[in-house]
Protein backbone atom coordinates (compact mmCIF):
# COMPACT_ATOMS: atom_id res chain seq x y z
CA UNK A 1 0.00 0.00 0.00
CA UNK A 2 2.93 2.34 0.43
CA UNK A 3 3.30 2.67 -3.31
CA UNK A 4 0.08 4.66 -3.45
CA UNK A 5 0.35 8.39 -2.86
CA UNK A 6 -1.95 11.40 -2.64
CA UNK A 7 -2.15 14.20 -5.11
CA UNK A 8 -4.34 17.26 -5.42
CA UNK A 9 -7.50 16.52 -7.32
CA UNK A 10 -7.14 19.60 -9.51
CA UNK A 11 -3.81 18.39 -10.90
CA UNK A 12 -5.29 15.13 -12.07
CA UNK A 13 -8.32 16.44 -13.90
CA UNK A 14 -6.75 16.39 -17.36
CA UNK A 15 -5.49 12.84 -17.18
CA UNK A 16 -8.74 11.49 -15.80
CA UNK A 17 -10.99 13.22 -18.31
CA UNK A 18 -10.42 10.84 -21.22
CA UNK A 19 -9.97 7.56 -19.40
CA UNK A 20 -12.41 4.79 -18.55
CA UNK A 21 -13.87 4.64 -15.06
CA UNK A 22 -14.52 1.68 -12.78
CA UNK A 23 -16.85 2.33 -9.87
CA UNK A 24 -17.27 0.57 -6.57
CA UNK A 25 -13.66 -0.51 -6.02
CA UNK A 26 -12.57 -1.81 -2.63
CA UNK A 27 -8.86 -1.73 -1.83
CA UNK A 28 -7.06 -4.41 0.17
CA UNK A 29 -3.57 -4.15 1.56
CA UNK A 30 -2.37 -7.67 0.88
CA UNK A 31 -5.29 -9.73 2.10
CA UNK A 32 -6.55 -7.32 4.74
CA UNK A 33 -9.28 -4.78 4.15
CA UNK A 34 -8.55 -1.07 4.17
CA UNK A 35 -10.82 1.88 4.82
CA UNK A 36 -11.01 2.59 1.06
CA UNK A 37 -14.21 0.79 0.19
CA UNK A 38 -15.92 2.94 -2.40
CA UNK A 39 -13.30 4.17 -4.82
CA UNK A 40 -13.66 5.02 -8.48
CA UNK A 41 -10.60 3.94 -10.46
CA UNK A 42 -9.40 5.73 -13.59
CA UNK A 43 -6.80 4.05 -15.73
CA UNK A 44 -4.35 6.02 -17.89
CA UNK A 45 -1.30 4.76 -19.72
CA UNK A 46 0.98 5.38 -16.76
CA UNK A 47 -1.13 5.66 -13.61
CA UNK A 48 -4.20 4.42 -11.80
CA UNK A 49 -6.11 7.24 -10.13
CA UNK A 50 -8.47 6.48 -7.26
CA UNK A 51 -11.13 9.07 -6.45
CA UNK A 52 -13.82 8.93 -3.80
CA UNK A 53 -16.77 11.08 -2.72
CA UNK A 54 -15.45 10.86 0.84
CA UNK A 55 -12.22 12.54 -0.28
CA UNK A 56 -13.21 15.17 -2.83
CA UNK A 57 -9.99 17.19 -2.83
CA UNK A 58 -7.38 14.47 -3.11
CA UNK A 59 -6.93 11.52 -5.44
CA UNK A 60 -4.87 8.44 -4.66
CA UNK A 61 -2.44 7.47 -7.37
CA UNK A 62 -0.55 4.30 -8.21
CA UNK A 63 2.23 4.58 -10.76
CA UNK A 64 2.00 1.68 -13.20
CA UNK A 65 5.77 1.37 -13.18
CA UNK A 66 5.51 -0.25 -9.75
CA UNK A 67 3.16 -2.95 -10.96
CA UNK A 68 5.17 -6.10 -11.52
CA UNK A 69 2.38 -8.63 -12.14
CA UNK A 70 -1.39 -8.61 -12.56
CA UNK A 71 -3.30 -11.68 -11.39
CA UNK A 72 -6.92 -12.62 -11.00
CA UNK A 73 -8.04 -14.14 -7.73
CA UNK A 74 -11.07 -16.23 -8.69
CA UNK A 75 -13.69 -15.97 -5.99
CA UNK A 76 -16.31 -18.38 -4.73
CA UNK A 77 -19.69 -18.16 -3.03
CA UNK A 78 -18.28 -16.46 0.04
CA UNK A 79 -15.79 -14.10 -1.48
CA UNK A 80 -15.84 -12.19 -4.74
CA UNK A 81 -13.19 -12.29 -7.49
CA UNK A 82 -10.40 -9.77 -7.13
CA UNK A 83 -7.51 -8.37 -9.10
CA UNK A 84 -4.10 -8.77 -7.44
CA UNK A 85 -1.47 -6.17 -8.29
CA UNK A 86 2.01 -7.28 -7.27
CA UNK A 87 4.15 -4.18 -6.59
CA UNK A 88 7.87 -3.42 -6.70
CA UNK A 89 9.52 -1.66 -3.75
CA UNK A 90 9.08 2.08 -3.37
CA UNK A 91 12.03 4.30 -4.31
CA UNK A 92 10.75 7.88 -4.19
CA UNK A 93 9.67 9.41 -0.95
CA UNK A 94 8.40 12.90 -1.47
CA UNK A 95 4.62 12.45 -1.65
CA UNK A 96 2.20 12.07 1.21
CA UNK A 97 1.03 8.51 1.44
CA UNK A 98 -1.88 6.67 3.04
CA UNK A 99 -0.93 5.37 6.48
CA UNK A 100 -0.88 1.58 6.72
CA UNK A 101 0.58 -0.99 9.05
CA UNK A 102 1.99 -4.34 7.91
CA UNK A 103 3.00 -3.37 4.41
CA UNK A 104 2.74 -6.23 1.97
CA UNK A 105 4.06 -6.53 -1.53
CA UNK A 106 0.70 -6.69 -3.23
CA UNK A 107 -2.66 -4.97 -3.12
CA UNK A 108 -6.03 -6.31 -4.13
CA UNK A 109 -8.94 -4.61 -5.79
CA UNK A 110 -12.48 -5.87 -5.46
CA UNK A 111 -15.03 -4.75 -8.02
CA UNK A 112 -18.44 -4.54 -6.47
CA UNK A 113 -19.83 -2.91 -9.57
CA UNK A 114 -18.42 -5.42 -12.04
CA UNK A 115 -16.17 -4.99 -15.12
CA UNK A 116 -13.31 -6.82 -13.43
CA UNK A 117 -12.11 -8.59 -16.57
CA UNK A 118 -12.23 -5.36 -18.52
CA UNK A 119 -9.97 -3.67 -15.98
CA UNK A 120 -7.59 -6.61 -16.08
CA UNK A 121 -7.41 -6.44 -19.85
CA UNK A 122 -6.79 -2.68 -19.88
CA UNK A 123 -4.14 -2.64 -17.18
CA UNK A 124 -2.29 -5.54 -18.81
CA UNK A 125 -2.28 -3.68 -22.07
CA UNK A 126 -0.96 -0.51 -20.42
CA UNK A 127 1.78 -2.53 -18.74
CA UNK A 128 2.78 -4.07 -22.05
CA UNK A 129 3.06 -0.67 -23.66
CA UNK A 130 5.18 0.72 -20.83
CA UNK A 131 4.64 4.19 -22.17
CA UNK A 132 6.35 5.77 -19.14
CA UNK A 133 9.63 4.42 -20.43
CA UNK A 134 9.56 6.07 -23.86
CA UNK A 135 9.51 9.63 -22.56
CA UNK A 136 12.17 10.65 -25.07
CA UNK A 137 9.92 9.94 -28.07
CA UNK A 138 8.06 13.04 -29.27
CA UNK A 139 4.31 12.62 -29.48
CA UNK A 140 4.16 13.71 -33.11
CA UNK A 141 6.08 10.66 -34.31
CA UNK A 142 3.56 7.88 -34.81
CA UNK A 143 5.93 5.10 -35.84
CA UNK A 144 8.54 3.69 -33.53
CA UNK A 145 11.92 4.61 -35.07
CA UNK A 146 14.23 1.58 -35.11
CA UNK A 147 17.28 2.11 -32.97
CA UNK A 148 19.63 -0.05 -35.02
CA UNK A 149 19.77 0.49 -38.74
CA UNK A 150 20.40 -2.81 -40.42
CA UNK A 151 20.57 -3.07 -44.13
CA UNK A 152 19.59 -6.07 -46.10
CA UNK A 153 16.80 -8.56 -45.61
CA UNK A 154 17.05 -8.61 -41.83
CA UNK A 155 16.56 -4.87 -41.58
CA UNK A 156 13.61 -4.90 -43.95
CA UNK A 157 12.01 -7.78 -42.11
CA UNK A 158 12.47 -6.07 -38.82
CA UNK A 159 10.90 -2.88 -40.10
CA UNK A 160 7.96 -4.82 -41.49
CA UNK A 161 7.54 -6.56 -38.17
CA UNK A 162 7.50 -3.24 -36.35
CA UNK A 163 4.93 -1.89 -38.76
CA UNK A 164 2.71 -4.91 -38.13
CA UNK A 165 3.04 -4.49 -34.37
CA UNK A 166 2.15 -0.82 -34.65
CA UNK A 167 -0.90 -1.66 -36.70
CA UNK A 168 -2.10 -4.26 -34.27
CA UNK A 169 -1.67 -1.93 -31.29
CA UNK A 170 -3.55 0.80 -33.17
CA UNK A 171 -6.37 -1.61 -33.92
CA UNK A 172 -6.53 -2.60 -30.27
CA UNK A 173 -6.83 1.02 -29.25
CA UNK A 174 -9.54 1.56 -31.84
CA UNK A 175 -11.57 -1.34 -30.54
CA UNK A 176 -11.26 0.08 -27.06
CA UNK A 177 -13.66 2.76 -28.19
CA UNK A 178 -16.03 0.13 -29.56
CA UNK A 179 -16.59 -1.14 -26.05
CA UNK A 180 -17.91 2.25 -25.03
CA UNK A 181 -20.16 2.31 -28.07
CA UNK A 182 -21.55 -1.10 -27.16
CA UNK A 183 -22.35 0.13 -23.67
CA UNK A 184 -24.22 3.07 -25.12
CA UNK A 185 -26.07 0.85 -27.58
CA UNK A 186 -27.41 -1.23 -24.69
CA UNK A 187 -29.06 1.85 -23.35
CA UNK A 188 -30.52 2.61 -26.74
CA UNK A 189 -32.03 -0.84 -27.05
CA UNK A 190 -33.63 -0.45 -23.65
CA UNK A 191 -34.98 2.90 -24.68
CA UNK A 192 -36.46 1.47 -27.84
CA UNK A 193 -38.16 -1.28 -25.83
CA UNK A 194 -39.64 1.25 -23.47
CA UNK A 195 -40.94 3.26 -26.42
CA UNK A 196 -42.53 0.27 -28.06
CA UNK A 197 -44.19 -0.76 -24.81
CA UNK A 198 -45.57 2.74 -24.40
CA UNK A 199 -46.91 2.60 -27.91
CA UNK A 200 -48.56 -0.72 -27.22
CA UNK A 201 -50.30 0.71 -24.19
CA UNK A 202 -51.59 3.77 -25.97
CA UNK A 203 -53.09 1.84 -28.82
CA UNK A 204 -56.10 4.07 -29.14
CA UNK A 205 -54.12 7.25 -29.72
CA UNK A 206 -51.44 5.99 -32.06
CA UNK A 207 -52.65 4.20 -35.13
CA UNK A 208 -51.83 0.58 -35.90
CA UNK A 209 -49.85 1.57 -38.98
CA UNK A 210 -47.43 3.70 -37.04
CA UNK A 211 -46.90 1.00 -34.48
CA UNK A 212 -46.20 -1.44 -37.26
CA UNK A 213 -43.84 0.98 -38.96
CA UNK A 214 -41.95 1.61 -35.75
CA UNK A 215 -41.68 -2.11 -35.10
CA UNK A 216 -40.43 -2.72 -38.62
CA UNK A 217 -37.70 -0.13 -38.09
CA UNK A 218 -36.62 -1.97 -35.02
CA UNK A 219 -36.67 -5.31 -36.80
CA UNK A 220 -34.71 -3.98 -39.74
CA UNK A 221 -31.87 -3.35 -37.36
CA UNK A 222 -31.96 -7.07 -36.83
CA UNK A 223 -32.87 -8.72 -33.61
CA UNK A 224 -33.67 -5.97 -31.17
CA UNK A 225 -33.18 -7.81 -27.94
CA UNK A 226 -30.71 -10.62 -28.49
CA UNK A 227 -30.59 -13.49 -26.08
CA UNK A 228 -27.31 -13.41 -24.23
CA UNK A 229 -25.78 -15.63 -21.61
CA UNK A 230 -26.23 -12.81 -19.10
CA UNK A 231 -29.93 -12.63 -19.65
CA UNK A 232 -30.48 -16.30 -18.93
CA UNK A 233 -30.26 -17.98 -15.60
CA UNK A 234 -28.58 -21.17 -16.74
CA UNK A 235 -26.94 -22.68 -19.80
CA UNK A 236 -29.90 -24.87 -20.71
CA UNK A 237 -32.32 -22.00 -20.60
CA UNK A 238 -29.91 -20.02 -22.73
CA UNK A 239 -29.91 -22.68 -25.44
CA UNK A 240 -33.68 -23.07 -25.34
CA UNK A 241 -34.23 -19.36 -25.73
CA UNK A 242 -31.61 -19.20 -28.44
CA UNK A 243 -33.23 -22.04 -30.36
CA UNK A 244 -36.59 -20.28 -30.25
CA UNK A 245 -35.03 -17.01 -31.40
CA UNK A 246 -33.18 -18.65 -34.28
CA UNK A 247 -36.27 -20.59 -35.38
CA UNK A 248 -38.52 -17.55 -35.43
CA UNK A 249 -35.95 -15.49 -37.30
CA UNK A 250 -35.06 -18.08 -39.93
CA UNK A 251 -38.58 -19.35 -40.63
CA UNK A 252 -39.23 -16.95 -43.47
CA UNK A 253 -35.71 -17.20 -44.89
CA UNK A 254 -35.78 -21.00 -45.02
CA UNK A 255 -39.20 -21.09 -46.64
CA UNK A 256 -37.84 -18.85 -49.37
CA UNK A 257 -34.90 -21.10 -50.09
CA UNK A 258 -37.04 -24.16 -50.64
CA UNK A 259 -37.31 -25.49 -47.12
CA UNK A 260 -33.62 -26.31 -46.72
CA UNK A 261 -30.69 -24.15 -45.68
CA UNK A 262 -27.09 -25.11 -44.98
CA UNK A 263 -26.08 -24.50 -41.41
CA UNK A 264 -23.24 -22.20 -42.39
CA UNK A 265 -25.69 -19.96 -44.28
CA UNK A 266 -28.06 -19.89 -41.33
CA UNK A 267 -25.23 -19.06 -38.93
CA UNK A 268 -24.09 -16.12 -41.03
CA UNK A 269 -27.60 -14.74 -41.35
CA UNK A 270 -28.35 -14.97 -37.65
CA UNK A 271 -25.11 -13.31 -36.64
CA UNK A 272 -25.57 -10.57 -39.21
CA UNK A 273 -28.99 -9.85 -37.75
CA UNK A 274 -27.89 -9.91 -34.15
CA UNK A 275 -25.32 -7.26 -34.92
CA UNK A 276 -23.57 -6.89 -31.60
CA UNK A 277 -23.98 -9.91 -29.39
CA UNK A 278 -22.62 -12.48 -31.82
CA UNK A 279 -22.94 -16.22 -31.37
CA UNK A 280 -20.09 -18.64 -31.41
CA UNK A 281 -20.49 -21.58 -33.80
CA UNK A 282 -20.67 -24.04 -30.87
CA UNK A 283 -23.50 -22.11 -29.24
CA UNK A 284 -25.37 -21.97 -32.53
CA UNK A 285 -24.88 -25.67 -33.13
CA UNK A 286 -26.01 -26.64 -29.63
CA UNK A 287 -29.06 -24.42 -29.89
CA UNK A 288 -29.99 -26.01 -33.23
CA UNK A 289 -29.80 -29.46 -31.68
CA UNK A 290 -32.47 -28.41 -29.18
CA UNK A 291 -34.90 -27.44 -31.89
CA UNK A 292 -36.39 -30.84 -32.44
CA UNK A 293 -36.91 -31.35 -28.71
CA UNK A 294 -38.70 -28.05 -28.42
CA UNK A 295 -40.97 -28.95 -31.33
CA UNK A 296 -40.03 -25.84 -33.28
CA UNK A 297 -40.97 -25.60 -36.98
CA UNK A 298 -37.34 -25.96 -38.00
CA UNK A 299 -35.12 -28.97 -37.32
CA UNK A 300 -31.43 -29.67 -37.71
CA UNK A 301 -30.42 -32.59 -39.89
CA UNK A 302 -27.13 -34.25 -40.75
CA UNK A 303 -26.68 -35.97 -44.09
CA UNK A 304 -24.50 -39.06 -44.50
CA UNK A 305 -21.75 -37.03 -46.06
CA UNK A 306 -21.63 -34.87 -42.92
CA UNK A 307 -23.39 -31.81 -44.32
CA UNK A 308 -25.55 -30.09 -41.68
CA UNK A 309 -28.76 -28.39 -42.72
CA UNK A 310 -31.74 -26.69 -41.16
CA UNK A 311 -34.96 -28.02 -42.60
CA UNK A 312 -38.61 -27.03 -42.37
CA UNK A 313 -40.60 -29.72 -40.59
CA UNK A 314 -43.30 -29.42 -43.20
CA UNK A 315 -41.02 -30.17 -46.14
CA UNK A 316 -40.39 -33.85 -45.69
CA UNK A 317 -37.96 -35.89 -47.74
CA UNK A 318 -40.78 -37.52 -49.64
CA UNK A 319 -42.05 -34.24 -51.06
CA UNK A 320 -38.58 -33.10 -52.07
CA UNK A 321 -37.89 -36.44 -53.75
CA UNK A 322 -41.10 -36.23 -55.72
CA UNK A 323 -40.18 -32.78 -56.99
CA UNK A 324 -36.78 -33.93 -58.19
CA UNK A 325 -38.21 -37.08 -59.81
CA UNK A 326 -40.67 -34.97 -61.73
CA UNK A 327 -37.84 -32.78 -62.97
CA UNK A 328 -35.83 -35.84 -63.96
CA UNK A 329 -38.70 -37.23 -65.98
CA UNK A 330 -38.96 -33.99 -67.86
CA UNK A 331 -35.25 -33.71 -68.55
CA UNK A 332 -34.15 -37.40 -68.86
CA UNK A 333 -30.94 -36.68 -67.00
CA UNK A 334 -29.92 -34.24 -64.29
CA UNK A 335 -26.84 -32.67 -62.84
CA UNK A 336 -26.56 -31.13 -59.39
CA UNK A 337 -26.18 -27.72 -61.03
CA UNK A 338 -29.52 -28.06 -62.82
CA UNK A 339 -31.27 -29.11 -59.63
CA UNK A 340 -29.85 -26.16 -57.71
CA UNK A 341 -30.92 -23.75 -60.44
CA UNK A 342 -34.40 -25.16 -60.69
CA UNK A 343 -35.18 -25.15 -56.98
CA UNK A 344 -33.08 -22.13 -56.02
CA UNK A 345 -31.05 -24.06 -53.49
CA UNK A 346 -27.30 -24.22 -53.04
CA UNK A 347 -25.23 -26.74 -54.99
CA UNK A 348 -24.28 -28.60 -51.82
CA UNK A 349 -27.92 -29.16 -50.93
CA UNK A 350 -28.81 -30.16 -54.48
CA UNK A 351 -26.03 -32.75 -54.41
CA UNK A 352 -27.26 -34.06 -51.08
CA UNK A 353 -30.74 -34.43 -52.46
CA UNK A 354 -29.42 -36.45 -55.45
CA UNK A 355 -27.15 -38.66 -53.33
CA UNK A 356 -30.05 -39.32 -51.02
CA UNK A 357 -32.22 -40.43 -53.92
CA UNK A 358 -29.39 -42.57 -55.29
CA UNK A 359 -29.08 -44.31 -51.94
CA UNK A 360 -32.80 -45.09 -52.13
CA UNK A 361 -32.31 -46.61 -55.55
CA UNK A 362 -34.40 -44.07 -57.46
CA UNK A 363 -31.59 -42.81 -59.67
CA UNK A 364 -28.23 -44.04 -60.93
CA UNK A 365 -25.09 -42.15 -61.80
CA UNK A 366 -22.96 -41.61 -64.87
CA UNK A 367 -19.50 -40.53 -63.77
CA UNK A 368 -17.12 -39.23 -66.45
CA UNK A 369 -14.43 -36.61 -66.78
CA UNK A 370 -17.19 -34.34 -68.01
CA UNK A 371 -18.94 -34.49 -64.67
CA UNK A 372 -21.52 -36.38 -62.67
CA UNK A 373 -24.93 -36.87 -64.28
CA UNK A 374 -27.88 -38.74 -62.83
CA UNK A 375 -30.36 -40.89 -64.76
CA UNK A 376 -33.54 -42.64 -63.67
CA UNK A 377 -32.67 -46.08 -62.31
CA UNK A 378 -33.64 -48.23 -65.31
CA UNK A 379 -31.67 -51.18 -63.92
CA UNK A 380 -34.22 -51.87 -61.24
CA UNK A 381 -37.28 -50.98 -63.25
CA UNK A 382 -36.43 -53.23 -66.17
CA UNK A 383 -35.50 -56.48 -64.43
Amino acid sequence: MDRLYFKDQKDCVNEIASSTAWKGIRLFNGDTKTEYVNETAYLTSSHVYFASVNRPTMNMILDLKYVVLVEEDIGNLLRSSKIILHLAPWNEGHFSRPPVKNLSSFIKLAFSDGKLSHFKQCIQKMLLERSWETVAVQPSILHHVPTTFRSGIVGIERRLQEKVENNSSNINIAFQDMQNLIDMAKDMVQLANVMSNKIKDRQGDISEDETVKFKSYLLSLGIDDPVTRNSCSSNDVFYHQLAKEIASFLLKAISDTGGLMAMSDAYCRVNRARGLELLSPEDFFKACNYMEKLKLPIICRKFDSGVLVLQLQSKTDFLLEKEVSRLLQARDKLTALEVSQEFQISIVLAQERLYFMERNGLICRDDTVRGLVFYPNLFSSSS
Partner: protein, 172 residues
Protein backbone atom coordinates in the same frame (compact mmCIF):
# COMPACT_ATOMS: atom_id res chain seq x y z
CA UNK B 1 -25.35 -62.08 -88.07
CA UNK B 2 -24.58 -58.88 -86.21
CA UNK B 3 -24.48 -59.17 -82.45
CA UNK B 4 -27.44 -57.37 -80.90
CA UNK B 5 -26.27 -55.26 -78.03
CA UNK B 6 -28.59 -55.07 -75.02
CA UNK B 7 -30.33 -51.80 -74.11
CA UNK B 8 -27.91 -51.31 -71.22
CA UNK B 9 -25.05 -50.92 -73.66
CA UNK B 10 -26.48 -47.58 -74.80
CA UNK B 11 -27.28 -46.40 -71.25
CA UNK B 12 -24.42 -44.20 -69.99
CA UNK B 13 -24.70 -45.15 -66.30
CA UNK B 14 -23.97 -48.75 -67.35
CA UNK B 15 -20.32 -47.74 -67.68
CA UNK B 16 -20.05 -46.28 -64.17
CA UNK B 17 -19.77 -48.57 -61.17
CA UNK B 18 -22.87 -47.78 -59.13
CA UNK B 19 -22.40 -47.03 -55.44
CA UNK B 20 -25.89 -48.22 -54.50
CA UNK B 21 -25.47 -51.94 -53.78
CA UNK B 22 -28.79 -53.08 -55.21
CA UNK B 23 -28.25 -51.11 -58.36
CA UNK B 24 -24.70 -52.46 -58.57
CA UNK B 25 -25.95 -56.02 -58.33
CA UNK B 26 -28.31 -55.51 -61.25
CA UNK B 27 -25.60 -53.72 -63.20
CA UNK B 28 -23.12 -56.57 -62.75
CA UNK B 29 -25.80 -59.07 -63.70
CA UNK B 30 -26.32 -57.21 -66.95
CA UNK B 31 -22.59 -57.11 -67.61
CA UNK B 32 -22.22 -60.86 -67.01
CA UNK B 33 -25.02 -61.58 -69.44
CA UNK B 34 -23.45 -59.26 -72.01
CA UNK B 35 -20.02 -60.92 -71.74
CA UNK B 36 -21.46 -64.43 -72.07
CA UNK B 37 -23.78 -63.54 -74.94
CA UNK B 38 -21.00 -61.78 -76.78
CA UNK B 39 -18.64 -64.71 -76.40
CA UNK B 40 -21.31 -67.18 -77.39
CA UNK B 41 -22.15 -65.20 -80.50
CA UNK B 42 -18.58 -64.77 -81.60
CA UNK B 43 -17.48 -68.23 -80.47
CA UNK B 44 -14.91 -66.81 -78.12
CA UNK B 45 -13.66 -69.57 -75.82
CA UNK B 46 -10.73 -67.70 -74.41
CA UNK B 47 -10.98 -64.07 -73.50
CA UNK B 48 -7.84 -61.99 -73.41
CA UNK B 49 -8.46 -59.13 -70.99
CA UNK B 50 -6.28 -56.61 -72.81
CA UNK B 51 -7.73 -57.35 -76.20
CA UNK B 52 -11.33 -57.37 -75.06
CA UNK B 53 -11.41 -53.71 -74.21
CA UNK B 54 -13.78 -53.05 -77.06
CA UNK B 55 -16.37 -55.18 -75.32
CA UNK B 56 -16.29 -52.86 -72.34
CA UNK B 57 -16.69 -49.63 -74.24
CA UNK B 58 -19.25 -48.02 -76.44
CA UNK B 59 -17.77 -45.46 -78.79
CA UNK B 60 -21.20 -44.36 -79.95
CA UNK B 61 -22.02 -42.81 -76.57
CA UNK B 62 -18.34 -42.20 -75.77
CA UNK B 63 -18.31 -44.25 -72.61
CA UNK B 64 -16.06 -47.01 -71.35
CA UNK B 65 -15.84 -49.07 -68.23
CA UNK B 66 -12.86 -48.21 -66.05
CA UNK B 67 -10.17 -50.79 -65.24
CA UNK B 68 -11.68 -51.10 -61.79
CA UNK B 69 -15.05 -51.72 -63.38
CA UNK B 70 -13.69 -54.39 -65.71
CA UNK B 71 -12.03 -56.12 -62.77
CA UNK B 72 -15.29 -56.03 -60.87
CA UNK B 73 -17.15 -57.59 -63.76
CA UNK B 74 -14.54 -60.34 -64.14
CA UNK B 75 -14.63 -60.95 -60.39
CA UNK B 76 -18.37 -61.30 -60.57
CA UNK B 77 -18.10 -63.75 -63.48
CA UNK B 78 -15.57 -65.78 -61.49
CA UNK B 79 -17.92 -65.78 -58.51
CA UNK B 80 -20.68 -67.30 -60.60
CA UNK B 81 -18.25 -69.79 -62.15
CA UNK B 82 -18.79 -68.33 -65.56
CA UNK B 83 -15.10 -67.82 -66.24
CA UNK B 84 -11.91 -69.49 -65.17
CA UNK B 85 -8.44 -67.97 -65.27
CA UNK B 86 -5.94 -69.69 -67.53
CA UNK B 87 -2.93 -68.27 -65.80
CA UNK B 88 -2.00 -66.81 -62.45
CA UNK B 89 -1.31 -63.43 -64.00
CA UNK B 90 -5.01 -63.17 -64.90
CA UNK B 91 -4.38 -62.15 -68.47
CA UNK B 92 -6.60 -64.73 -70.11
CA UNK B 93 -9.62 -66.65 -69.04
CA UNK B 94 -11.89 -69.36 -70.33
CA UNK B 95 -15.41 -68.15 -70.81
CA UNK B 96 -18.06 -70.67 -69.85
CA UNK B 97 -21.07 -69.63 -71.86
CA UNK B 98 -21.50 -73.34 -71.53
CA UNK B 99 -19.86 -74.90 -68.55
CA UNK B 100 -17.52 -77.93 -68.98
CA UNK B 101 -20.24 -80.34 -67.99
CA UNK B 102 -22.60 -79.04 -70.64
CA UNK B 103 -19.81 -79.23 -73.19
CA UNK B 104 -19.01 -82.75 -72.15
CA UNK B 105 -22.61 -83.84 -72.63
CA UNK B 106 -22.84 -82.11 -75.98
CA UNK B 107 -19.67 -83.78 -77.24
CA UNK B 108 -20.81 -87.15 -75.98
CA UNK B 109 -24.14 -86.78 -77.72
CA UNK B 110 -22.33 -85.89 -80.94
CA UNK B 111 -20.02 -88.85 -80.52
CA UNK B 112 -22.81 -91.29 -79.91
CA UNK B 113 -24.90 -89.83 -82.79
CA UNK B 114 -21.99 -90.33 -85.13
CA UNK B 115 -21.45 -93.82 -83.81
CA UNK B 116 -18.02 -93.03 -82.53
CA UNK B 117 -18.42 -94.92 -79.29
CA UNK B 118 -15.79 -97.48 -78.59
CA UNK B 119 -13.47 -95.77 -80.95
CA UNK B 120 -10.68 -93.39 -80.33
CA UNK B 121 -10.57 -89.98 -81.85
CA UNK B 122 -7.98 -87.30 -81.51
CA UNK B 123 -8.56 -83.91 -80.05
CA UNK B 124 -7.80 -82.44 -83.41
CA UNK B 125 -10.64 -84.37 -84.97
CA UNK B 126 -13.02 -83.13 -82.35
CA UNK B 127 -12.24 -79.51 -82.69
CA UNK B 128 -10.90 -78.93 -86.16
CA UNK B 129 -12.03 -81.86 -88.20
CA UNK B 130 -14.25 -81.39 -91.28
CA UNK B 131 -17.19 -83.12 -89.71
CA UNK B 132 -17.42 -80.89 -86.73
CA UNK B 133 -17.52 -77.56 -88.49
CA UNK B 134 -21.23 -77.09 -87.82
CA UNK B 135 -20.96 -78.06 -84.22
CA UNK B 136 -20.86 -75.54 -81.47
CA UNK B 137 -17.64 -76.86 -80.10
CA UNK B 138 -15.71 -76.33 -83.30
CA UNK B 139 -12.55 -74.42 -82.74
CA UNK B 140 -12.74 -75.06 -79.03
CA UNK B 141 -9.71 -74.27 -76.99
CA UNK B 142 -7.75 -77.37 -76.05
CA UNK B 143 -7.76 -76.81 -72.33
CA UNK B 144 -11.51 -76.39 -72.33
CA UNK B 145 -11.89 -79.58 -74.32
CA UNK B 146 -9.83 -81.44 -71.76
CA UNK B 147 -11.98 -80.08 -68.96
CA UNK B 148 -15.12 -81.14 -70.77
CA UNK B 149 -13.78 -84.61 -71.39
CA UNK B 150 -12.68 -84.90 -67.78
CA UNK B 151 -16.29 -84.41 -66.70
CA UNK B 152 -17.18 -87.34 -68.98
CA UNK B 153 -14.37 -89.35 -67.45
CA UNK B 154 -15.91 -88.78 -64.07
CA UNK B 155 -19.13 -90.42 -65.27
CA UNK B 156 -17.27 -93.15 -67.12
CA UNK B 157 -18.48 -92.02 -70.47
CA UNK B 158 -15.04 -91.41 -71.88
CA UNK B 159 -11.38 -91.82 -71.25
CA UNK B 160 -8.55 -89.57 -72.25
CA UNK B 161 -5.71 -91.44 -73.90
CA UNK B 162 -2.21 -90.45 -74.89
CA UNK B 163 -0.81 -92.21 -77.89
CA UNK B 164 2.18 -91.48 -79.98
CA UNK B 165 2.50 -87.87 -79.03
CA UNK B 166 -1.13 -87.12 -79.79
CA UNK B 167 -3.92 -86.80 -77.36
CA UNK B 168 -7.17 -88.54 -77.92
CA UNK B 169 -10.27 -89.74 -76.24
CA UNK B 170 -12.24 -92.92 -76.26
CA UNK B 171 -15.97 -92.80 -75.80
CA UNK B 172 -17.84 -95.65 -74.25
Amino acid sequence: MEFSWPWEYDFPPFFTLQPNLDTLRKQLEAWRKLVLDYCRHNKIFVLDVQESISLFQNKAIDRQLSTEGINRVLESLLEYNQIEWCDKAKKQCLVYWKNPQEWGNLIYRYASDKGMTNTVCTFYELTAGDDVQNEEFAGMDQSLLVKALKTLEATNKAEIIMFGGNEGVKFF
